[in-house]
């Protein structure tokens, strides 16, 4: 595994000694998970949701109970310190 490249994709900065350390540990982990290839999955569909829910949507409507209305505006917490 190209640890440096993966770290970049993951937005992580590695310390100088970490690349080697992780490389060794990843090799060990990948070896453990490789047993998965013993199983034939050629006609098997991948699982996407375990309890069988599909296309859970909600109405595209503002929940008025969750906003504090002031005139035509709604109130949000202050981001900058108000002096």
């Amino acid at each position: 595994m190209d640890v440096k490249h993966v770290a970049k994709l993951a937005n992580l900065t590695l310390k100088p000694n970490e690349e080697e350390k992780f490389k060794k540990q990843f090799a060990e982990t990948l070896k453990t998970i490789d047993v998965i290839n013993e199983l034939d999955t050629s006609d098997i569909a991948p699982t996407s949701q375990v309890t069988g829910l599909t296309n859970v949507t909600r109405l595209d409507k503002i929940d008025a109970s969750r906003i504090i209305k002031i005139g035509d505006y709604f109130k949000v917490p202050a981001i900058f310190n108000a002096q």
């Binding site: 992580l12 982990t29 453990t32 998970i33 998965i36 098997i44 375990v50 309890t51 859970v56």
Partner: protein, 457 residues
């Protein structure tokens, strides 16, 4: 010694006016003061707990009951760190559905408990704020990731606790600390406001002194939540009154592949107990748990890499340089499994094998009502066992990962001891059969006394 009471006893005592909520909370706080320095079960104590107790409305289901909460549940007004330095000073902006429901039921959040950082692990040794020790033997680990919650219950620092599991993080520490840990079906309890680990298996649940207590808490926290799209719209049965319902003989499968390690002989005795109780127990063969280790490792790392992408130092807490080794490993392995060229080899393959595991359970549950086996291959391991073992959690949780991957419901109850350390029995049922799982576990606890034994602190 009010802190030693079970949830069921504490509720009854409060209602009968044998003691007040303030006395109950104070006895837990005293116990925390006495033992937390050593055990490190709690990270944060709710300084207002006693004031809240004085104002408690005991007519509510959990009125005035002090409950400990794992530190990955958002609690307004209480630090929520997931035991990571990234969130060391993080104050939540909103309340998790689970703690909201507990508060509405009158419960008092006593404090926040230690865990593996981001719930990555099965030992609490990956916590950035020091590990928790096992109350039965402080040279041993409490298990994890909900290790702080398990130790807090075992050491009577609280009446009951809340944890979460992605694959075993409730049941394994419950087993190692000699208490009851209950994992509801995936989607039965809302994940809203729980710091996400692996979203396709994350399941909040109770860690308690008895099965009856777990049923009480599950009753409060279960149910559909519009803020969690994967929470189930199925109606929630009455777990509590179903506990003692008269049932015909249960067909119980004893998972042959799970009978490994030091737990084996103790679990075989538990199987005999179920026969004495009039149930039919016979061996069943399931897919080798080694495949679940692979599936879980790939799926969990992949989901972690996505879920932890949000911690960029801008929206929450500190920047990514504060991640510990375990989080970095998991984020990177997940990134790798999802990256171009490797996605099918790892992620898609794992989700296909996941389908095989689900089908394996479906076949098993055609013949059996429930499946039993050890929660963990052996008792609590010694402090330091997880260090330098990047697959520690996966190997310790190998008997729990299959049921988590399939989204099943399962419970761990104390069933004996090895070398003075508790052993857990897991009882697993099909999705949404919480009532049956709780009933069988309750049935077992009615005729055994493993769960009432306490560690000497």
């Amino acid at each position: 010694m009010l802190n030693k009471l079970s949830l069921t006893e504490a509720i009854a005592g409060l209602r009968a006016k044998k003691f007040t909520s303030a006395e109950l909370v104070q006895s837990c706080l005293d116990q925390i003061k006495k033992h937390n320095k050593k055990l490190n079960a709690f990270l944060t104590i709710n300084e207002n707990a006693l004031d809240e107790a004085k104002k408690a409305d005991i007519s509510k289901p959990f009125g005035g009951i002090p409950i400990a909460v794992k530190d990955n549940f958002l609690t307004v007004g209480l630090l929520t760190t997931a035991s990571s330095r990234v969130l060391e000073e993080y104050m939540p902006q909103y309340e998790s559905t689970v703690t909201k429901k507990l508060k509405e039921a009158g419960a008092i959040i006593l404090g926040k408990t230690n865990m593996d950082a981001w719930a990555h692990g099965s030992s609490t040794e990956t916590s950035d704020f020091g590990l928790t020790l096992n109350p039965w033997n402080t040279g041993h680990l409490p298990g994890g990731s909900s290790g702080g919650s398990a130790a807090a219950v075992a050491a009577d620092m609280c009446i009951a606790a809340i944890g979460s599991e992605t694959a075993g993080s409730i049941r394994q520490p419950a087993a190692w600390c000699g208490i009851t840990g209950f994992k509801p079906t995936y989607g039965r309890v809302s994940r809203y406001g729980v710091i996400a680990m692996a979203s396709s298996t994350d399941s909040p649940g109770p860690l308690t002194k008895t099965v009856g207590d777990s049923a009480l808490i599950a009753q409060i926290i279960a149910g559909h939540d519009p803020y969690d799209a994967t929470s189930s719209p199925k109606s929630v049965p009455d777990f509590v009154s179903n506990l003692n319902a008269q049932r015909s003989t249960l067909k119980i499968g004893l998972a042959k592949e799970y009978l490994v390690g030091q737990s084996k002989s103790v679990v075989l005795e538990a199987a005999e107990k179920f026969k004495e109780l009039g149930h039919k127990v016979s061996e069943i063969s399931l897919l080798d748990p080694k495949y679940s280790i692979s599936v879980y490792t790939i799926v969990q790392r992949s989901e972690v890499s996505s879920n932890l992408a949000r911690y960029d130092g801008i929206r929450y807490g500190r920047d990514r340089s504060f991640f510990g080794d375990e989080a970095k490993r998991r984020i990177m392995l997940g990134t790798y499994a999802l990256s171009s060229g490797y996605y099918d080899q790892y992620y898609t393959k794992a989700q296909k094998v996941r389908t095989l595991i689900i089908k394996d359970f479906e076949q098993a549950f055609k013949k059996f009502d429930l499946i039993i086996g050890p929660t963990s291959p052996g008792p609590a391991l010694k402090v330091g066992a997880s260090v330098n073992s990047p697959m520690f959690g996966e190997l310790e949780d190998m008997l729990l990962e299959p049921s988590s991957i399939a989204g099943l419901t399962s419970i761990s109850v104390p069933c004996g001891f090895v070398d003075g350390l508790p052993i857990g029995l897991q009882i697993t049922g099909p999705q949404f059969t919480e009532s049956l799982v709780l009933q069988a576990a309750h049935n077992y606890q009615q005729t055994t006394d493993w769960h009432v034994r306490k560690p000497q602190l």
